[in-house]
């Protein structure tokens, strides 16, 4: 039997639309792929799915009846992991969810457990970004931070930062995925920016950032050093909490 491959546009709605088609045509073997990472199978038939909000909503409403809030969160979180092949795990999860209520709590089911575990990884990354974002004040009075998370967590952290920094303009830019969030004191917008070629995101350039920025970075570095207890040194634990891949944008971890 020829297998079918659905190509979708990478959005969550696009994915749910593809799921809708799977159910509509009662497909047994199907492969759902993001258009950005598509690979052509030799013997498969490709079909591009046009995102349809109505179809996506129908799937989501159906899932609402079957899954707990936590289960739905896990589904969305796992989707944002952008892991290769995650769509097919999620499809299996959704199929199972439509056969059993509260399926999201069946942790002995391979797809349910997998989704729960990946969702946990994404949740951890979300929490890390809430911790590791380091704003730098620009000359235009915008608190700017760049991030490079493993997973696409910007949609998940928007609410946290909006609630917390309600009285300052801020921007968080994902330089791996080339988009960011900008809060203009009223609402949060999704933006795409052009940075000069060879722009060094680990440096605090005086052309862009406010003069007092350096003072606060220095104070923060001093504080970070002073609060450490040398006789308790435990680098293994330190690195487990702050993995090295995050160091380059943490001012306290930069060589001074």
């Amino acid at each position: 039997m020829q297998s079918q491959t659905y190509i979708y546009d990478g959005t969550f709605d696009g994915f749910l639309t593809a799921v809708f088609h799977v159910f509509e045509f009662k497909l047994k073997t199907v492969n759902i792929q993001n258009e950005c990472v598509q690979q052509h199978g030799l013997f498969s038939e490709n079909e591009t799915i046009t995102t349809d909000e109505k179809k996506a909503n129908r799937v989501w409403v159906g899932l609402k009846k079957q899954l707990s809030v936590r289960g739905r969160f896990q589904l969305y979180y796992a989707f944002l992991s952008e892991k290769e092949g995650i769509e097919n795990v999620l499809l299996d999860y959704i199929r199972y969810a439509f056969t059993k209520t509260n399926a999201d709590k069946d942790f002995a089911h391979p797809s349910v457990l997998k989704v729960a575990q990946i969702a946990k990884m994404v949740g951890r990354e979300k929490h890390r970004m809430e911790a590791f974002v380091r704003f730098k004040l620009t000359q235009d009075e915008i608190y700017f931070a760049n991030i490079e998370p493993d997973f696409n967590v910007l949609p998940l952290i928007e609410k946290h930062f909006k609630r917390r920094y309600a009285d300052q303009k801020w921007m968080i830019y994902d330089i791996k995925r080339h988009y960011g969030l900008f809060y203009n004191l009223d609402k949060v917008e999704i933006i795409e920016m052009q940075f000069p070629e060879h722009f060094d995101f680990t440096k605090t350039s005086t052309d862009i950032f406010a003069a007092q920025e350096f003072e606060f970075q220095t104070l923060w570095q001093d504080y970070f050093k002073a609060t450490n207890i040398k006789s308790r040194k435990n680098m293994k634990l330190h690195i487990r909490h702050v993995p090295k891949r995050y160091w380059k944008y943490l001012s306290e971890k930069l060589p001074s």
Partner: protein, 420 residues
Amino acid sequence: MSFQRTQEKLKILADAAKYDVSCSSSGSKRANTNKGIGDATGMGICHSYTEDGRCVSLLKILLTNHCIFDCAYCVTRKSNDIKRAAFKVQEVVDLTINFYRRNYIEGLFLSSGIFKNADYTMERLVAVAKKLRTEENFNGYIHLKSIPGASDELMREAGLYADRLSVNIEIPTEQGLKQLAPDKKREDFIKPMVKVKNEIIQYKAEKKIIKSTPKYALGGQSTQMIIGASGENDFQIMQTSNHFYKNYNLKRVYYSGYVPISYDDRLPKIGSEVPMLRENRLYQTDWLMRFYGFDVSEILNEQHQHLDLDVDPKLSWALRNLHEFPIDVNTADKALLARVPGLGMKSVYKILNARRFRRLNWEHLKKIGVALNRAQYFMVCDSNQFERRDLTSEKIKGLILQNSTSKYRNSLSNQLNLFS
């Protein structure tokens, strides 16, 4: 703000505050109001970790390290020859706000040496918190130290601006306190603790009737004990801890392995090792008391006054109580599951849910994340493979240690070498 002077002060006063281990920034419900700055509704966030592996969540500083007391265990004791400094109220406010805006911290942890007298010191701490709340519209987390001997009126005011208040009893027994801090009395610590406890109860009761009742220390109270400075055993420490949890409704008791800072004969010598492993075992016991349904007397009692260093306290308890095992993972209730070594509360939650769908076997448990290395000797599941030999406690312990690489193996072998 003069940069150089602030920098100098920050170095001194952060260094002096670092032995206070409380770092919590959770448990409050202070939401951002009127588009102000900050929010303390969610879970706590650790913004960074120092090289000792401890979290940096709050800007933890002393207002001043001038102190009229001479407690042997303390770096800022009067007789210690160190640089002294003091922040102005406005300096602390500026630092807090600017660090917070850059997402460095969750808020402020402000403690102080005692200068002039208790009330004078407490007044200054309250002034910082008040300024942050009322002038800067700051809704981040504030943790203030309750200064022993401060008046009831000041303690009441402190709770209105702070999310958490704490007073450190430092030495687990009154006898030890008398020896190391002759100027201080246990009652002085207890008095502000009682005041805050009663205020919390009262404000909570009033809030049920009148919704506009202001928030009062929503993050509760905590305290800290120094471990290994005054010769107490684990039984004494956990008894004291239990006493404070029960009688003063504390949110947390922290255990701080003593870092030698003095040549005083009454204390461990400079250069002697910080008892980090012991500290870790005490925290594990604390967790067993608060989240796993253990009574402290099950783990530590007249017969067992010391925690094992080579295995965790739950395993140690299970090895002494083999008659309670094995339990059947597919039928045992939550309280029993929580007592199985190698099962954390997250695994318990997953097991309770998953077994509604099917009977669980070893493969399921392994995938769920159960530490089978320990758990396998204490449970049966949907499998005909289980431990049939009638093993003694010593044998089980040996098998478990053989198959594990404890993160503390190094420090443990060092400590054992001392006695061999």
